[in-house]
């Protein structure tokens, strides 16, 4: 199958999915999957293509959700202005944190992003005047976006699906562009890339900011979906879940994080209806994924597929 055909087929599946699902519960579940898939493909730009493992990515997700909730309820802005402000603030946070975290790479980078993420979490928790502390901020209702009424499950699904499709297309184009090639180069051979005249720091910072932008977009959708935001969205677990989706599905593949998001979100929903020990289960999946599936599901399955086909051709 050629690329465009596959794209159209995926788009048709995305558009037709609500009609295949038996009820609102499943449509809502699909919307949740899309929100996390958006978060994961954005994170993958940094983790997979940039080779920079961030453990503080919930920061942009949460900052944008909080900003939109605050701008709507406290500052009284309209939905469009609040959403634009939230995306701008989330992306700007990523810009600043990127400058700080990129003082290091590898494990230092990981520790700094983790510390920064935890500090934002602590702020949301303690700065009660601004964030409402543990009570969080409640949003009155979902907005109507471009004539699409997001208050219904189907309407929200199409909003999330639209944003996700745009994000996936953009990230695919980014990954396949010369910029994407340079970014992968800076992941594999940073010194060689620098010697070739590429500004490795700038490449990484741009990947960081783009990744933060899509994280902010996912945060915005999260707020619209739940109509509520609390420090929970900024917790380390949120960052870790996103990273697990990327790694479980397969970092630096386009579809891997999507598969990871589907699996983790479904397992999470399924598990939480039987046991309330989700975090322990998350920890176990983490260990199993890292020890037994270091390359992720998508490359693993693709490898098996290639081996099956090889003898015939």
């Amino acid at each position: 199958m050629s690329g465009p055909l596959r794209g159209l087929l995926a788009l048709a599946l995305l558009a037709g999915l609500p009609w295949l699902l038996p009820g609102d519960f499943y449509v809502n579940l699909a919307s949740q999957v899309l929100i996390y898939a958006l978060f994961a493909i954005g994170l993958n730009l940094l983790v997979g293509y940039g080779g920079l493992t961030s453990l503080g990515h919930a920061a942009y997700f949460g900052v944008s959700a909080y900003a939109c909730a605050w701008l709507t309820t406290q500052a009284g802005l309209g939905p469009a202005a609040a959403a634009a402000g939230a995306l701008a603030l989330g992306t700007a946070t990523a810009g600043v944190f990127g400058v700080l975290a990129l003082r290091a790479s590898g494990l230092g980078f990981l520790m700094i992003t983790l510390a920064l993420g935890q500090i934002v979490w602590g702020m949301a928790y303690r700065w009660v005047a601004l964030t409402g502390g543990d009570n969080g901020i409640r949003l009155a209702d979902r907005p109507v976006v471009l004539g699409l009424d997001a208050t219904t499950p189907i309407g929200f699904y199409y909003l999330a699906a639209g944003v996700f499709a745009i994000a996936f297309y953009t990230i695919r184009r980014t990954a396949l562009s010369p910029f994407g090639a340079c970014l992968r180069g800076s992941r594999d051979q940073p010194r060689r890339m620098a010697a070739l005249g590429h500004n490795v720091w700038l490449l990484r910072w741009l990947a960081f900011v783009m990744s933060g932008f899509w994280g902010s977009a996912a945060g915005l959708l999260y707020l619209y979906y739940h109509k509520f935001v609390s420090p929970q969205v900024l917790a380390l677990q949120q960052s870790a879940e996103g990273l697990l989706m990327v790694i479980l599905g397969g970092a630096s593949t386009l579809t891997g994080p999507v598969v990871g998001a589907v699996v983790i979100t479904l397992v999470k929903n399924l598990a939480s209806s039987y046991v309330d020990r989700w975090y322990a289960l998350l920890g176990v999946i983490f260990i199993v994924a890292v020890v037994f599936m270091p390359r992720g599901m998508v490359p693993g399955v693709a490898g098996l597929w290639a081996r099956r086909r090889a003898p015939q051709s």
Binding site: T53, L55, L100, R103, A104, G106, L107, G108, L110, M111, I112, L114, A115, L116, Q118, I119, W121, G122, M123, Y125, R126, W127, V128, A129, L130, A235, L236, Q237, A240, L243, L244, I247, R277, Y279, A280, L282, G283, V284, I285, F286, I287, V290, V291, P294
Partner: protein, 286 residues
Amino acid sequence: MQFYVIQTLNSLALGGVLFLLSSGFSLIFGLQRIPNLAHGALFMLGAYIGTSLISRGVDFWAAAVLSGIAVGLLGAALERLILRRLAGNEQGQVLVTLGVAFIIADVCLMVWTGDPIPVPAPDGLRRPIFAYGLAFPTYRLVVVGVAVVMAVLLFLLIERTRLGAMIRAGVDDMEMARGVGIRVSRLFSITFFFGVALAGAAGVVAGPIFSAYPGLDADMLPLALVVVILGGVGSLLGAFVGSFVVGFVYNFGTALLPDLAYVILFLPMVLALVFKPEGLFGRARP
């Protein structure tokens, strides 16, 4: 005046606890290149085990040592059974420690429930000392003393003993240390055991100040990270100075501007990253 005396002592006590927590973290990171993200969770586990021991009539200090040993053994098992399988895959090792942290936190919630459990200070240390017309909380002074004694002991261990010399050799150049016949893998287990045991014992020592509650791990881990980023990885002196800087900044921040405590905590880290990214006492690594 009384306010500043109390807050200064609180800051010193917090700094002492942070040193016990972050010195192990820093040594493990320096030697094994593993930022052990389960360190906060192990600190919390130590505190909880301590509460259970004390409620069964075990002496406070004995409980601290026993919790430390129990947590240390768990850490050594983690290092032997899982982390060693992932040798060379640093990112995988970090993610495993994070998974372990989630499991420990959830198990603690299951076993000790969600209610905070206060830890009584040892007998004889509960009443404040009165001097110069001011009250000094005795237990906090003792915590500072414990931290200073541990710092001296650790310094002597690292700088004056054969084991310490081997650890320093491993931190400087692991390949070369292996080459001259040091069993680096056994060194890893020993460091991991001690580093993690310190965290577990610190949980009990900090108990009378913080008590044991769910979320203690998430409160302590960022503080330990800020200490290590500030002080420099693998440096005992860095962990010591960083702990007390963070102790003062965080404690006075919480007391004077409670809403902004976390923003203020962020400042020394930002300054360190901008002006000296390898930390105050760290060395640039290749």
